[in-house]
Amino acid sequence: MYRSFADIRTALSHGSITVASLVQQYLGVVAQRNGELNAFLETYNEEALQQAYQIDQKIAAGRAGRLAGMVIGLKDVICYQNHRLQAASRILNGFHSQFSATVVERLLAEDAIILGRQNCDEFAMGSSSENSAFGAVRNAADINRVPGGSSGGSAVAVQAHMCTASLGTDTGGSVRQPASFCGLVGVKPTYGRLSRHGLLAYASSFDCIGTLTHTVEDAALLLEVMAGADNFDSTASTQPVTPYSKQVQEQPKCGKVAYIRETIESEGVSSEVKEHILQAVEILQSEGFTVEAVDFPLLEYILPTYYILTTAEASTNLARYDGVRYGYRSPRATDLESLYKLTRSEAFGKEVQRRILLGTFVLSASYYDAYFTKAQRVRRLIMDKTKAILADYDFILSPTSPTTAFRVGELSDNPLQMYLADIFSVQANVAGIPAISIPCGNDTEGMSIGLQIMGNFFEEAKMLAFARFLMEKCAN
């Protein structure tokens, strides 16, 4: 099994594999393990093999793209032309996307292969990948545990070597938290670094496409290929994209690193998680970094702010799923109103309904100012305070999640407890800054622990180089 794309390239150049044999190998693992893991909703076997043969020819002819040999899975919220798209929801039964996401176009242009679409929490709402119309995803390290969410299927597919890398989406930690639970590298870039064209919206001002890989280097290469301005997304940034794949190899300067005191001292953080983070802190100090605890008094407001704003956006983003033009339509509908009500009640899962209702509530005239307006102001404060820390420090460290992967069903009846799994990851989305989760060891039960690094706006290159460095040190 190949852990990194570099390994694959080496094997390809030695001729010990072909892209076709690699795809077959991945499909073999899917056939073997997907039944219990439920990571892929479907794979495009024939198509992927056809592409692989063509890419092998291109390699032979010396005109293959930079991602020749990269086999990628897409979370079921990313559009791929003429392929199904349904956000792991019944409401999009039978829907096929008529276009590909900009990021997918850019991957394909460099000869990446899209292997299939991956299971997740319905509409990317969840922290365990249990809220799927297609059943829960299982953690490949222990199938009684969740893989985290919402990009759980994407994480497990990489974890179980069903593909080289996955694209997930991260609205409040949905790439980083599953990366943490599955022992992977998960990157959420700066908001606007990657085009959202072709990303099925959950909360537009938070949503980011992110990567799940085994190595930071692979993440850097994928980001470099996918990033940049887009004529189909006015919120995509025009900031120039730098060669992340080279920059990731640079030795980070021994700068200043902050960790938010509460993220390590809080009672909610498991002792083993805490221990590993502190070990990483010691490693950094021994490498000459200055690491200091800082206070972030707004921490307790981050989750409420996040849930008010994301549910508000979700409630209108999901209004289009009404049974009129595509997807599921209730067969019991008798008139327009019952068409709407029955369709949406029957086809949206409980968590999605909960968030639509919450969002509708916070936007309603009588509560708008008390919730939505206030949350917008708090978001601005959180952004400013986060920027202030990043003005003094190069990075902010924290655990990615307070615990390691919990058991399937453990938190299903307790949404508030479930929401806490994202308590450290949502800050980056609220502020819009880039963040990465890297593995920094396992707990005594063998479950992986993730360390999160947050960087400053559009400083992906610097953050990736630092993450690569720290991940290597933690592994030794």
């Binding site: 798209l85 276009f99 919206a201 006015s234 919120t235 209004a319 009404d322 936007l363």
Partner: protein, 493 residues
């Protein structure tokens, strides 16, 4: 409806505010590249963005921003520099995203006003009313729901979904139904001048809703307003307001209260009816559209757009009176359509007989356009032809009545024809030169010495005989006015 006496009506004051939706004639839709076209086969101009497919994002069409700014500048508005869009949330089958993208908190144009001239019936007298604007904002249109009669289904055409609109909202400044009609005429003239909307109310490219209330004269508090929809002409807006004024006064006089509601105007009966929907008060849950980056209007944008603006009717009316010395009436008529005003000025660059040009345009040219159902964009004569025709008549080479009938008819849609050569070919030219005519007339008079003597003795009706002889004897057409003048001169000398 029971009638209310004039005496009672006169105790009340009408208060009206108008909301005008104008479809912008941009090539593509406001947030998508689909063609923005009326009349295509249903559901053909519908990309995934218009259809609201998952994963699609809006991209603002900058041309529509420019059009809205032009309208704002024409209406003396303040232009917002930092603009965002908002989502107006409601469910309807012809609204693909489940929300309409509009501007709630930051309209592109704020404040402003339009001065309108209103008159009662066909009266020449008018009064000028300043109607303040509250705002002009950009938004997208919804699709069209078609409910076939006797069908148990509804057809949806999404071609119109995403059509760019501006909504022009007035303050409640209108006090007379005629002011509403006059305001609409001004708005329509401006959008046509700016070339941003065809202003066609019958086809729905310009639509008007009226918020109507009444109050006792002297009251400062506004009465409960009623929204009236479905008025597809300026005339109907006026009729609906007239009806609604009386209706509301009557309701109040009967001791009842005005209900907050939306009413539809029925063209046939001339009445308004409460819409038969059980719509509760809609909470649209406006919130800032996160899928569109804010757009900023810079000083450079503004000066560029200002520079590209055509002269507007109110400026031209002023100019036509000052520069071309036209009466106000002519100035108003000639500036009604921009093409007419432009044409007038082009002709006036070739001849100094401005009033004669105006007479030509308001007379034979306008009649021709009316009879053939053409617009001022389809002028029957070239600028040069009209200028030459004006010059010929002013020199007396042919009479206005001959020129406006025969020469005009010969030149219509013959852009190659030259006016003077055509007149000559048709033998329309007449001799009016004194030096040429005088000897010839003396000659004729000399042939009839007895008659000349009789004339001098008082038989003035012999002039007609002399005229006949002059005309008969001439090999070319003679200007009868001039000939009569000279004949009298010769006979009486």
């Amino acid at each position: 409806m029971k009638t209310v006496s004039e005496a009672i009506l006169s105790q009340y004051e009408l208060v009206v505010g108008l909301e005008v939706h104008a479809q912008l004639s941009a090539q593509s839709k406001i947030f998508a590249a689909d063609a923005n076209r009326f009349g295509d086969a249903p559901n053909t101009n519908v990309s995934v963005i218009t259809l609201g497919h998952p994963g699609t994002l809006p991209m603002l069409n900058e041309a529509v921003v420019e059009m809205a700014i032009k309208m704002g500048l024409a209406c003396h508005c303040e232009i917002s520099r930092y603009n965002i869009f908002d989502r107006k949330n409601y469910f309807y089958p012809d609204l693909p995203k489940g929300f309409q993208t509009t501007q709630d908190k930051t309209p592109i144009c704020k404040g402003g006003y339009l001065d309108v001239k209103a008159r009662k019936g066909n009266s020449k007298d008018y009064w000028v009313k300043r109607i303040r604007l509250n705002r002009i904002h950009l938004e997208e249109d919804a699709g069209k729901s078609i409910h076939p009669a006797d069908a148990d289904y509804t057809l949806i055409d999404l071609n119109r979904a995403g059509t760019p609109l501006i909504e022009i909202v007035t303050e409640p400044d209108i006090r007379q139904p005629e002011e509403a009609a006059a305001y609409l005429a001004v708005v329509r003239r401006i959008v046509r001048y700016l070339g941003i909307c065809d202003g066609n109310m019958e086809e729905g490219s310009m639509r008007c809703d009226a918020n109507v209330s009444v109050r006792k004269k002297g009251d400062t508090k506004l009465g409960q307003k009623v929204e009236i929809k479905n008025m597809n002409s300026m005339r109907n807006v006026q009729r609906a307001i007239e009806y609604e004024f009386v209706r509301q006064v009557q309701v109040l006089e009967s001791g009842a209260k005005i209900t907050s509601e939306t009413r539809l105007f029925d063209v046939n009966s001339g009445r308004t009816f409460a819409m038969r929907t059980k719509e509760e008060l809609n909470d649209y849950r406006y919130f800032p559209e996160p899928d569109l980056a804010p757009f900023v209007v810079t000083d450079e944008d503004l000066s560029r757009i200002r520079a590209a603006m055509p002269e507007l009717p109110e400026q031209l009316v002023e100019k036509f009176q000052q520069v071309y010395q036209l009466p106000e009436y002519d100035s108003v008529v000639l500036t009604d359509e921009r093409e007419m005003a432009v044409y007038f000025e082009q002709v006036c660059a070739l001849t100094k007989h401005y009033k004669a040009v105006s007479n030509w345009l308001m007379g034979p040219v306008k009649s021709y356009l009316n009879e053939t159902g053409k617009t001022a964009a389809e002028m029957p004569l070239t600028v040069r032809q009209l200028a030459d025709a004006v010059e010929l008549t002013e020199q007396g080479a042919l009479s206005f009545s001959v020129a406006s009938k025969e020469l005009f008819a010969a030149l219509v849609n013959q852009p190659e024809a030259v006016a003077e050569a055509t007149a000559r070919r048709l033998n329309l030219l007449q001799e009016s030169n004194t030096d040429t005519l005088l000897p010839f007339i003396r000659e004729i008079v000399a042939k009839f010495p007895n008659e000349a003597a009789a004339y001098r003795k008082g038989k003035k009706n012999l002039l007609g005989m002399f005229m006949g002889e002059v005309m008969k004897a001439s090999s070319v057409k003679i200007d009868p006015k001039k000939a009569g003048e000279l004949l009298r001169q010769v006979l009486e000398s």
